[in-house]
Amino acid sequence: MSVTETTPLARGETLKLEQREMTKGFLGLSLKNGLLNIITLTLYRFWGKTEVRRRVWRATYLNDEPFEYTGRGGELFKGFLFALLIVGLPFLLVVFAAQMMGPMLGALIILPLYIFMFFLVGFGMFTAFRYMASRTTWRGIRFRLEGSAVDYGLRFIACAVISGLTLGWFWPTARRKLAKRIWMNLRFGGDLPFRFDEAACRKEKVYGAFTLAWVGSFVAYVLIAGVAVVMGLATKDAAPSEEASLGMIAIIYLLMLILMPFLLLLYAPYQAAILRSVAAGIVLGDARFKLNVRWLELFWLTLTNILLIVVTLGFLTPYVEARTARFLVDRISSEGQADLVSVRQAERGPRTGEGLADAFGLAPI
């Protein structure tokens, strides 16, 4: 190590990410996964997801070397069973028990439960990242996510609460802070940590785009509510019948449907800005990243993704995931160098995947 420590740049490489031979096999894979999911009452989904990742990973090349996903469907399945036993079942029983009690007592029980669920969302996201990092290898070396999932879960709750109190205005900051917790804890192998440069992250502005989205969607909701009230008043005098209320509901849904792409459009500049901002904060060695996502193309990607999934009842999800990965990888560029040659192996990661496996200190040894 002393050699590389004294001459860090001598063995450095500029990072070049690209995707090759992608998306063509994914229509077939989508069909296969969909059919097998039906036959097995969706139990196949863990293996289907694994196969999608395997293919996306190995089609992604860093400096001419493909990534490898070494996770297995069985690991996800076991993690799921574990989470079911430890979280799902007690939750269900508590909800059921709350049914037996009075509404007041029931609410007293269920409310903390739903707050706890927020924690579990953050906790689960972190453990999922940890699992995925541990199952991603490049040049035979694993990635590894350090840090505490409990800590991340608590931060997630705090972020959600503050965002709620500020009517959403804290959320862009929260997303940067949460992204930082992930990237600053990620390392390639045993000794090449990622860093997160908050100053660089903040340099990519997000609040202008967020203001546009917030104000725009606020105006849109007010307009919709106004239309609904006006129509309600108009029909109320005519006939307070059930046909009218049915019509009202249909019209509100129709308006929402028209509103959906409009809201996507409003939020696209913000979503693109957040992606650029987080990518700008990531540092590996001396290498920095730039995600050149423009809002209109992101809008188009999101809209078409939603349509593909809705129209095919979810069948094309693998295809959608593949084209989203392609979209992002195609837009990543990097400057500066990192020493990727003398990285030592990382310890092995968690044994099961993503199922809140480390819940309540029950992490497998």
């Binding site: 097995t40 293919r55 190995r58 269900l92 509404p103 035979g140 046909e243």
Partner: protein
Amino acid sequence: MAAARFYDGLTSQPWPIDVVLAGDVLVFEAEGVTRRWPLGGLTIDAAGGVVRLSRSGDDERLLIDGAVWRAFAGAQGRAAEKRSRFGEWKLVAGLAVAGVLLTLLVFVGVPAVSGPLARMTPPAFERRIGENFEAQLSVGLKPCGGREGQAALAAFGRRLGRAAQTPFDIRVRAVEAPITNAFALPGGAVMVTDDLIGLTQTPDELAAVIAHETAHVEKRHVMQAVWRSLGLGLVLDAVVGGGSGAGQQAVLLAGSFTDLRFSRQAEAQADSRGMELLQAQGLSSKGMAPFFERLAAKGEGAEARAVKELISSHPDTIARARVSRLHARPGASAFSPREWAAIKAACATPRSTGGSLRWIPAS
């Protein structure tokens, strides 16, 4: 011989090497050590451009250009690829069996267990569930305003409750709801919607409907449906994932929605027991058949959608009418003309039973 790249899994250092195929063993030298990898135990990750070879559970990797690999390993390489694919078919078969078992659990296991479980449930426990259900329902289902009509219904319920072998008080109430239905809650509450009262033409018919629901309470069918919903919630969670909350929703739905579904067998049992209860009181049990027939007839008519709700949870309506007619006995009327008039007028805004199309909440 073929050119390849080797990673030892200890560092990210690439080692350019030459590989030789000796029989079905890959032989190569890296870092001064000769390594022998039998083809049979290899994981072969072939993705067009590059083929990546590894041994299971091991961090070492061998990368060979795809075209070079195919020419080099030929038939043996393809055979090894096929072997690794065979494992997947075994997996799918196993999962399909698991799927079938889950289906059996849902359609056979859970219903089979729910009956005995319901009969073992302490009445106090069921009463408490019922109270909570009622509290939730009272938000959407307002009791009708007519005091005299409600009193007549309540008195009739108490009378049936005394005749039935049940620890629960049968509390009958007329409620306003946009559905044509009558339903029993855990613990003995029986709700009759204004639309259903509108659809009945004689006191006998309404008495038959109430007796039918009372029988559901007596036979603990209601509690059985509650247990079944919990069981289904569990299975649903197991299948689609607890995180989605689908199982919890199923449990919540069972509590918030009026229409706890019963099996065909339970309906037939409630029919015959309901008629017994009426006959034991010396009351006419001739109302059941005409009411079912009217329901069936309506089902084809203009009110198809409103009645579909009732028929779908009460299948074989015509067959049931036939059985009911066979066992019907004449007897006294459950309600005096004055009571009947009060019941008919109990709901402040009687909804038309004519041809209006109405919106029915999805069950």
